[in-house]
Structure formats: structure tokens, C-alpha cells
């Protein structure tokens, strides 16, 4: 952004993401609790809320870069080619989505089936090609968790529509 002779930028493209997420959650919380705002129940929250405003301004200010137009040098573009996502980012995205799908499907297919598929699938995606490992690791871990939680510690794990 350009203001007069000065160009204002951000240190990194994602540096505002964290304050935005934090404020998204906090504002949703404050809106839900607005009827209690002046109540004792929000005593500590109120003070933390005001303090959060101050420290957000200070944090964001620290993430800004202000340069005079004459001082701007042509810096090499960091990261990936325009429009492209790095291999690492895609891998992270796939992993996060897989965990999300794993949690959603577990309620229908139960712990045993989903865990077997999730571990084997993720191992394959991350580059494991040994068939022995692809079978042994998911089966052993699923059995171990099932025996420990369900049988030994009596913590019932999610059961599938097939009854196991």
C-alpha cells in the first residue's frame, strides 16, 4: 500500500492470519456473551479484551514494513512460482484434510476400519512403499490401541454401522 512517499507492506503474506483467527474466535465469543458483558462473569474477560486490542495493534505494527519509495530495492521473489503452491504446502493441506475426513468417517465406519485405512493411506502418500510395513504398522497399531483402550481400559472406541 502506498501513502505519499511511503510504501507500507507486511513482513510475510501470512503474518496477519494469526491475529485475524484470534479475533474471529474472540469476537464470536464476545457476541455470544454480549448479554453478560457488564456482569461479574465477564470480569476478567473484559480486561483481557481491552488488553488484546492494545497488543494486537503493537503486534501488527511490528509486522509492518515502512519504506521510502527511493529506498525500495528490487528484491528477488521468495517462495514459489506465481499461482503455484509448494510441494510442502500441498502435503500439509492433504494431511489436514485427511485427518478431518478420518474424524468425520470414524463416526460411521468406526475406529478399526478408518484407522487401518488412514494410517495405510497416509503412509503411502508420504512415500512408504514397503508392503510389509504398509500392512504391519496399521494392523499392529490399530490392534494395540483397540486392546489397550477398549478391552483393558474400558474406553469404548467409535463403533461402525457393521457393529465393530
Amino acid at each position: 500500500m502506498k501513502i505519499g512517499k511511503y510504501r507500507i507492506g507486511l513482513k510475510s503474506s501470512t503474518c496477519l492470519l494469526v491475529p485475524l483467527i484470534m479475533w474471529g474466535i474472540v469476537i464470536a465469543y464476545m457476541l455470544q456473551s454480549r448479554s453478560l458483558y457488564s456482569d461479574n462473569a465477564m470480569l476478567l474477560v473484559r480486561w483481557c479484551f481491552y488488553a488484546m486490542i492494545i497488543f494486537t495493534i503493537l503486534s501488527v505494527k511490528g509486522d509492518l514494513t515502512i519504506q521510502r519509495e527511493g529506498d525500495i530495492k528490487d528484491e528477488p521473489v521468495k517462495g514459489n512460482a506465481p499461482g503455484g503452491l509448494s510441494h510442502e504446502t500441498i502435503r500439509l493441506f492433504v494431511f489436514i484434510v485427511s485427518i478431518g475426513v478420518y474424524l468425520v468417517i470414524m463416526e460411521w465406519l468406526g475406529f478399526i476400519i478408518t484407522t487401518l485405512v488412514f494410517i495405510a493411506g497416509m503412509m503411502f502418500y508420504l512415500g512408504v512403499r514397503s508392503k510389509k510395513l504398509m500392512v504391519l504398522v496399521p494392523v499392529c497399531l490399530t490392534m494395540l490401541i483397540y486392546l489397550m483402550f477398549d478391552v483393558w481400559l474400558s474406553i469404548t472406541l467409535p463403533v461402525s454401522i457393521f457393529g465393530f
Partner: protein, 520 residues
Amino acid sequence: MTDADRQFCPYLLKAERIIGLLMIEWTSFFAGACQLLNLQIILLMIAGIFFGILCGAIPGFSASMAVVVVLPLTFSMEPLVAMVFLCSIYVAAVYGGSITAILINTPGTANSAATSFDGYPMTLQGRAGEALGLSIGASCIGGVISYGFMLVLMYPIAAFAVKFGSAEMFLLAVFGLTIIGGISEGGLSKALLAGLFGVIVSTVGISPAGSIRGHFGSPWLLDGLPTVPTIIGFFALSEMFNMLNKDFVVEGTNVKRSVKEIVKGTLKPLKSPGNLFRSSLIGTFIGAVPAAGGTIASFISYNQAKQASKDPDSFGKGNPEGVIASESSNNASTGGALITMFALGIPGSSTTAIMMSALMIQGLQPGPQLFMNQMPLVYAIIIALFLSQVVMWIAGVMFSYSLSGVLNVSTKILVPVISVLCMMGAFAIRKSMFDCVLVLIFGIIGYLMKKNGYPTIATVLGIILGPIADTNLIRTTIRFQGDYSVFFTRPICIGLLILTAAGILVPIIMRKRRESGRAS
């Protein structure tokens, strides 16, 4: 001393009272020791220690869950056998959480969250064996010091601990939160923003006054934000996201496991007697305060060790002193919690509440009556606690050696496996898939925070200490009808205010001094 002396010399009377409190009743002590000469007790102590460490190392599986699982087994046991078994599980579970905190940045229990601050960086530097050894040594010595206090100072500590009302508890939580001021990662404003976010988020659900605050439409949040899924998300899952692009936990090296290195590490805490004793003392006292517990004790001890250190900047980057402070303190808190339970019949934590019920099932009433009628039993339990630390040392070395093999497993296998363990650990607490979703959400937020220089430690601290501060501030406001002068008139409050002020000012002064020293 004669009655005449007592009448004319009040100082002598006072001294006699103090000595009376410190003195051990040797007849009962030896009678208790003799009761322990039983093979069944020794075998159950060993079994309890192994089971406790295993449970503590599983993310999400707390000491209270470990104790409650075996509780039905104790119904048919003799009171002493049952208590030794339960106490062994309790102390071992508190220690067990540190193994995974050090190896994979996944604290098995909230008590070990502070251990991962320096334990995991040590692992990344190829010093996992040393860190694991430090944690065993500090835990055992911390335990021994607190059981020493238990043996000789049980009543004075318990009497002091129950003086902590809501005002004192609020200031204790605020004192714990001063750690945020010392976090150097990302700068002070980011650390404070992250900490404040943690405090606000931790207050969701029903307030102590009974009103329902924001809970995002989920009934699972009415009880507040569960601590364990948030810790697993911020520490463990966000670390899994980082590990996706690595081949091994410790990049580029084949980690050689060595029992010798672990054993050597167990002796290293002895080189820091000041830190060890201070942290154990903090752990014992805070452990004795009802509803405070090992987590707050370990955070406060960690902060005190940092402030006392000549090189505070190295904390959070693999300083052994951090591991020593956290581990000695959280294990010492077990002694403190048992002091309040045995001496006053007040459970200091959920685990001691379960253990109290076990005692009552056996027909015994914890509190002063137990001391009058069952003194040898109390001494036998205390002696067993000392012995359990020896067994824990051996078991700790064995577990640490076995589990450190995880460092040589490829992340291609480790990441999916640990992710599933994290999810199931979070699920186990309330048998709720919602907690697994929380792990995922906080894992993503934690990852983004790390990438942008926001310390996740500050948010976790806010989430752990926030509810304590919030609950006790509301209670104080209601009880004293909004008169906050109570914070400046009660002696313990004044002490805590001074400590808090020192906790804020000392790091600033020290930082300025170092900067001016560097400049000159």
C-alpha cells in the same frame, strides 16, 4: 521441661511445639516400615510404577484416569497394599508424561507441558538421552524431597495450604501468567497477545457465577475448554505438521540410543542443587494447595529457574535447567497433594480425590483421625513413596531407552501413527469426537502461530491458568462484594503481589542490563 518452665517461658513452649511438629514418632515409623516387608507390596509397587509410566506417556491419559482404572482391583486388597499400589501409579503417571514431551513434543499429561519447552529442543539437538535422564533424575529427587517434607512437616504445610482462599488463588494464577513476560520468541507484544487469547478462550462455558457465556453452540464447551486436547493440538499435532517435511525427528543423524547417557543424565540434576531444591519446594507447596496442582507448579518453577539463571535467554532452546525445574516440581507436587489428603482429608486434585475414596472404601477416614488411629499406616505409605522413587528410577531408564527408539523411525510412519494416538488420547478423556476436532483446530492454529512468530506456549499457559484466575476472581468479587482491597490486606496476597511484581520487573531489568553490557 517441667510445667513451671512452660508457664514462665513461652519461648520454650513455642520451640517445643515446633519440634513436636517436626518430630517423627519413631515407634510408629518402625512399625510402618515393618509392614512393608511384604512381597505382595513390593510386586504391586513395581507393577504400579510400570503401569503409571505407561499411562502417563499416552497423550490424554492422565494420572487420575490411570488410578480410576485400577480402583476396583484394590477393593479386595489390604488398606496398605491398596494405597501403595495407587500411590505408585499416581507418582509414576505424573513422571511418565515427560518421556513423550521430550521425544516428540507431546506431553502425555498437562503436568509435563513445561518439560517440553526445553526437553524437545534438547532432542532436536541430539541430546534426547541426556534430557530423558535429567527428567528421571529430577522427578525422583523432586519426589524424595517432597516426601521428606511430608515426613517431617506434614501439618504445618497442610495448615499453610488451606489458607489459600479465592483471592490468593487468583494471584497465584496471575503469578504463573508472568512467565509470558519472559518469553523471548516473537517479541513481548506477540507473546502477550497469544497469552491473552488463551485466557479469553479458556473462559468459555458456564461461569462460576452460573451464567452461560459463549460456547459456540456446542454443549461440549459448556464445561469450559478441555485442557488436554488443546495441549495435544498446540504441541503435538502442530509438531506433526512440521515433521511432514522432515525425514526423521532429529534431522540428518541416526540417533544412537545409550543407557549410559540416560543414566549419566539422571545424575546431572544433582549439579543444580539450588534449582532442584527451589523447584521441589515450590512443587510441594503448590501441590498442597487444593485445586492448584502440578501443572501450575511446574510453570512457576520453570519461570523461577529462568529468572535465577545467568543465561535466561537459553531457556526454551534446550537448557537442562528448564527440564530439571519442571520435572522436579511436578513430581514434588504429588507429595504436596498427598499431604493435604492425609493430614486434613481434603483432596488437592482429582487423583487424590479418587485415592481418598479408595481409603474410605477400606474403612479409613483421611484427616487428623487417621493420624491418631493409624499412624503406622501413614508412615508405611510415606516410606513406600520413598521406595517407589527407586523403582521409578529403574523403570524410567528402561522406558526412556525403549521409547527413544522412536527417534530412528521415519516420520513417514511416525506422523500418521502419532496423529492417531493424539486423536485417541483426546477422545479417551470424555469419549467425545468433539475433542478430536478441537485437537485438529488447535493444531492448525498452533502451526500458523509457530510460522508467524507467536509463541504457542503463551496461549497454552493462558488456557491452563485462565480458568483458575477467572473462577477465583469472580469468587473473590462475589464474596467481598467488589471490594478489591482484599488483595492488599491479606498477608499471602501481599507476598504473591510482591512475587508477581518481581516476576514482571526482574526480567525487564535483567534484559536492560544485558543489553547495556553488550553495548559497552
